[in-house]
Amino acid sequence: MKKYFLLPLTLILAFSFQAPAQPALNQPGVSQPGVKQRRPLPPEYGRVIIGQDAENAQLSPVVFEHWIHRSMFTCRVCHVDIGFAMKPNGSGITPADIQRGYYCGACHNGRMLHGDRSVFSGCSLRETAADQERCERCHSYGKNVKSEYNFARFSANLPKERFGNGIDWEKAELQGLIQSTDFVDGISVKRSSLAVQKDFALSPKVESMPDIIFSHKKHTVWNGCELCHPEIFFGVKKGTTKYTMVDIFQGRSCGACHSTVAFPTMDCQRCHSKPVQQ
């Protein structure tokens, strides 16, 4: 009697088997409360490790640095037009996608120009040592790969701010020190211009904390509308959805960006900037 159950049982087990979860390399808001952890250094902030479960065991996971890309493009180009998810491994990028000109391959195709140079192509066949070196420009996790762009040199003359990358990206753009492109030929959809969105104040639960002046205008200039609505902010009526700081520190609502990529919410005064009316 028992042996007749062996086969179906084995089949059930076989189809339900999943690879054991790898320890995550990036996870905002997950740490043991009550201790002060290490904070990422300015060049490390915004770093995303992609492809831990890469099929090709010969290549290390990809180390993606936000700082170099955000100095050239708005958030919208990558996260709406190209379609990157905002979580590591959330897009399911494969080498085939890149070779066909999607995701990283939308720009990293050997043809797109950056200044007077062409952007190196990603995920091409590895035939020569030079090809292998090119793979390691991205697949560099755990390797001592010398990057073409040096953070110290890059950020030397940019206006400074606290935490995160230590750079005031907004001021840098205002002063013309960086130019964030919002439209990439062949990828972006030609859109009508955006009506100026109104800024508004948000009141915190804790009475003694200053109000937050949320600049809709600044956020839409870089993100457009669909990056945040409705996925990150689904409330339809202003003031009805309550977000707590715990939500934010754990990567929800404002924390979707402002925990690992945009200026971190550790900098209280950047948001809580309106004096409380006495």
């Binding site: 009697m1 007749y4 159950f5 086969l7 179906p8 089949l11 059930i12 189809f15 709406v80 037009d81 190209i82 379609g83 998810a85 897009s91 399911g92 494969t94 085939a96 996608d97 066909r100 999607y102 995701y103 959809v189 030609k190 859109r191 009508s192 211009s193 955006l194 009506a195 457009g224 509308c225 669909e226 990056l227 609505h229 409705p230 996925e231 689904f234 339809v236 009526k237």
Partner: protein, 107 residues
Amino acid sequence: MRKLAIVVSVLVCTLAWPQQLAAQSQPQANAAEQQAFQREFDDVCSRTQGAMSLTRDELKDLVRRCDALAPKLAKLDQSQRKVYKRRLEQCRGLYAYVLDTRKDSDQ
């Protein structure tokens, strides 16, 4: 008992078979169909910036057109399908969201 075991085994095999096979068995879109999809997508999703100034009827129409595009995703190649699924989600999501905010108003 033996028959039961065989029946269960067969059921498990058929039910647990990956769904990708079903998707892959659909014929891929030819170049013309892909271009048509692209044109329609670009037309529908180019209006997200101005969503706040569209009327309810216009928004409903855009949502309907997004829904009409969704089944055509299955005919695209794997990479395109992934990318456009996400983009369509965001685009449709925004129109539906803006429509939601107008629930109580006349426009």
